[in-house]
C-alpha cells in the first residue's frame, strides 16, 4: 500500500502541478494573482478540442497560441494600467474573478458542448511494483518537470530571462536599467496563460473538461502555489507532489468528499502556520 500510494501520489502530483505552472509564472513575475487563468486555459482547451478533428498537432498549437495573445493583451490593456494606478491584490482578485466570468460565458456561447473530453492518442500503460501507470500521466509529470527546468534555465542563461528575474525582484531598479517591464509582464502573462492551456489539455484528456473545471483548475493552481510559496515555481512543484501524496494516501481511508476536505484543511493550516509557504517566496501576497 505504501509503494502504491507513493507512485500514485507522484503521478497525481505531476498532473496537479500543471495548473500551478501558469499561476506561479504569472504571479512570480507580475505579482498579480490571476484567478481567471484556469478559465483562460479551459478556453484554450475547448479551442484545441474544436480543431482536434482536423489535425491533432495543429489543434494543440492553435489552443496554446490562442491563449498567449489573450494573456498578453489582458496584461497590457487591463492589468498593467490598473497596477500603475496602484491597484492592490484585493482589486486584482475582484478584477480577475470578473474576467473569469467573461471567459466562462465565452466558453458557453462559442462552444456547443458544456463538457468535453480531449481524446489524445492512447499511449498505453506500464506497471511499477504492481501499480499500473498510464503513460500520459507520466508524460504530464515529465512535461511539468521539464517546463520548470526550461524556465529556470532561461531565467539564468538568457537576457530576457534575466529581465524577468530583475523585474520580479525589483521593479523600480529594473525600469531604471532600461528593462521594458510592461513588455516583460505581458510576455509572462502570455506564457502563463499558455501553460494553463497545456494544463487544461492534459486535464481534459485525463478527466472531463467543462466550464467549472476552469474555476477548479484556477483555484487549485492558486492554492498549491500558495502552499509552495507563491511565485516560487519549485515550491509549487513540491507542493503539488505533497498534495498528490495527501490525495493518494487519504484515498485509502476516506471517500472523495472527505479527501478534498482534508486537502483544503491542510492548505489552510499551512497558510496559517507558514504564510510564505513551504519553500518561501520573495513575493508575498
Amino acid at each position: 500500500m505504501l509503494l502504491t500510494g507513493f507512485i500514485n501520489g507522484i503521478i497525481m502530483g505531476g498532473v496537479l502541478s500543471l495548473p500551478v505552472l501558469g499561476v506561479a509564472v504569472v504571479y512570480g513575475i507580475t505579482g498579480i494573482p490571476n484567478f481567471a487563468i484556469g478559465l483562460i486555459g479551459v478556453f484554450g482547451g475547448f479551442v484545441t478540442w474544436y480543431f482536434l478533428s482536423y489535425n491533432m498537432v495543429l489543434s494543440l498549437f492553435v489552443g496554446v497560441a490562442v491563449c498567449f495573445p489573450i494573456g498578453y493583451l489582458l496584461q497590457n490593456i487591463l492589468l498593467t494600467p490598473i497596477s500603475n494606478k496602484g491597484g492592490d491584490a484585493t482589486l486584482f482578485f475582484v478584477i480577475t474573478i470578473s474576467l473569469g466570468f467573461v471567459f466562462e460565458g465565452l466558453v458557453k456561447v462559442i462552444f456547443p458542448r458544456p463538457s468535453i473530453s480531449i481524446a489524445l492518442p492512447y499511449m498505453g500503460s506500464f506497471s511499477v511494483g504492481g501499480v499500473s501507470v498510464e503513460i500520459i500521466k507520466l508524460f504530464a509529470l515529465i512535461f511539468a518537470l521539464s517546463t520548470l527546468t526550461v524556465i529556470r534555465l532561461l531565467e539564468i542563461h538568457t537576457r530576457p530571462g534575466q529581465s524577468w528575474q530583475a523585474t520580479s525582484r525589483n521593479l523600480k531598479l529594473a525600469k531604471l536599467v532600461g528593462v521594458n517591464t510592461n513588455r516583460v509582464f505581458a510576455v509572462a502573462h502570455g506564457i502563463g496563460c499558455s501553460l494553463a492551456c497545456i494544463g487544461a489539455i492534459f486535464w481534459g484528456s485525463l478527466y472531463n473538461l467543462n466550464v467549472l473545471s476552469g474555476w477548479e483548475l484556477g483555484f487549485l493552481g492558486f492554492i498549491i502555489a500558495v502552499v509552495g510559496g507563491i511565485g516560487n515555481i519549485w515550491g509549487g512543484m513540491l507542493s503539488a507532489m505533497l498534495m498528490g501524496m495527501i490525495l493518494s494516501y487519504s484515498g485509502y481511508f476516506l471517500d472523495g468528499n472527505w479527501q478534498s476536505v482534508i486537502l483544503y484543511v491542510i492548505v489552510i493550516l499551512v497558510l496559517i502556520v507558514s504564510p510564505k509557504g513551504i519553500l518561501g517566496s520573495e513575493r508575498s501576497l
Binding site: 490598473i82 491584490a89 482578485f93 460565458g105 483555484f219 472527505w258 483544503y264 489552510i268
Partner: protein
C-alpha cells in the same frame, strides 16, 4: 448632520419594500431575496471597509447560521427560535475562530485563508451529506409553520432595517470610530495605545453574529438550503456588493445589492450571454468608477445641481 440625513434616508428607502406586500407575487419574492443579500452586503461593508479586515468567508458564516437553524430544527427537533439563536451563535463563534486563526497573518493572506475556507465549506457540507443533505439540500417549513408569507416578509424587512440601523449607529460610536482609525492605520492605532486585537476581535464577532442571523433568515425565507447555495461564488457576490455600490457611502451596499442580485435577473432573457455581461459590467465599474456607483452618482448629481444654479434666470 449630513451623515445622519443620509443614514435616515437610507433606512427609509429600506422600509419601502414593505409596500410590496400589497403587490405580492414575484416582485415580493425577489425583494425578499435582495433584502437577504443586503444584510450580507452591509456585513461585508462593515468588516471590509469600516473595520478594514480583508475577509472573504461570508458564505461560511452565513451558511453556519442557515445550516445551524435547519439541521437543529429538522434533524434534532429543536424549537425553531432556539435553533435560530444557536445557528447565529455558532456563526459568531466561527467569526471569532477565523480571526484568532488568521490574526498572525497579514493583508491579503487573511483574505486568502478565509477564501479557502469559503471553498472548503461546501465540500464539508457535501461530506456530511447524511446530516446536511449535501447537494440535494434540506427542506423545512421553518417559520411558515407559524405564520404566513406576508407576515414573515414584513419581519424580514424590519430585521434588515434593524441590522443596517445597528451598523449605522455603531459607526457613530467610539467603537466604530476606533475601527475606522484601525482600518486607516493599524500601526498608528497601536502606537497611540489602542488594543487593536480586542477591537478586531469584536468586529469579527459582530460580523459572524449578523452574517449568521442573515443566514438563519435566509433559510427560513426559502425553506431550503444546499451546498450549491453556499458555493464560493456566494462569497464573491457578497464581497462585490459594497465594492460596486461604493464602500465610502452608507447607501453603497444598497446600490451594490441591486446591481449584483437584480442585474442577472434582468439578463435572464439573454441567458447565454449573462455571464459575459455580468463580468463586463463588474470590470467596467471597477475600472471607470473605482469608488463605486454610489459616490459617482452623488458626484454627478452635485455637478448637475451646480450647473442648474449657474444658469441665469430669465427675466421679462
Amino acid at each position: 448632520m449630513k451623515d445622519r440625513f443620509k443614514y435616515l434616508s437610507t433606512l427609509f428607502i429600506l422600509l419601502l419594500p414593505c409596500l410590496l406586500v400589497l403587490v405580492g407575487g414575484y416582485f415580493q419574492e425577489v425583494a425578499g431575496h435582495v433584502l437577504l443579500f443586503l444584510i450580507q452586503g452591509y456585513v461585508a461593508w462593515f468588516l471590509l471597509y469600516k473595520a478594514g479586515q480583508p475577509f472573504f468567508g461570508y458564505s461560511v458564516t452565513m451558511s453556519l447560521g442557515a445550516y445551524g437553524t435547519i439541521v437543529l430544527t429538522e434533524i434534532y427537533h429543536w424549537q425553531l427560535l432556539v435553533s435560530v439563536v444557536m445557528g447565529t451563535l455558532m456563526s459568531c463563534v466561527m467569526g471569532i475562530g477565523i480571526f484568532l486563526g488568521t490574526c498572525r497573518a497579514k493583508g491579503f493572506y487573511v483574505g486568502m485563508a478565509s477564501f479557502l475556507l469559503a471553498i472548503l465549506f461546501p465540500k464539508v457540507i457535501d461530506a456530511l451529506k447524511p446530516i446536511t443533505g449535501g447537494r440535494n439540500g434540506l427542506y423545512f417549513d421553518g417559520v411558515y409553520a407559524l405564520m404566513d408569507t406576508n407576515t414573515y416578509y414584513l419581519i424580514l424587512v424590519f430585521f434588515t432595517v434593524a441590522i443596517v440601523g445597528f451598523f449605522f449607529w455603531l459607526m457613530t460610536t467610539r467603537m466604530g470610530q476606533t475601527l475606522i482609525l484601525i482600518a486607516e492605520n493599524d500601526q498608528l492605532a497601536q502606537a497611540v495605545g489602542l488594543n487593536t486585537f480586542k477591537y478586531k476581535l469584536v468586529a469579527y464577532a459582530i460580523m459572524g453574529l449578523f452574517s449568521g442571523l442573515g443566514g438563519a433568515l435566509y433559510v427560513n425565507y426559502h425553506g431550503f438550503i444546499s451546498s450549491v447555495d453556499i458555493e464560493v461564488f456566494t462569497t464573491v457576490y457578497i464581497y462585490f456588493i459594497p465594492l460596486l455600490g461604493g464602500s465610502r457611502v452608507c447607501y453603497g451596499p444598497l446600490i451594490g445589492t441591486i446591481i449584483v442580485i437584480l442585474v442577472p435577473d434582468l439578463f435572464a432573457a439573454v441567458e447565454r450571454y449573462q455571464r459575459i455581461l455580468f463580468g463586463l459590467i463588474f470590470i467596467l465599474v471597477l475600472v471607470f468608477l473605482p469608488d463605486g456607483v454610489g459616490p459617482s452618482l452623488e458626484r454627478f448629481w452635485k455637478q448637475l445641481v451646480r450647473a442648474f444654479r449657474k444658469v441665469p434666470v430669465a427675466t421679462n
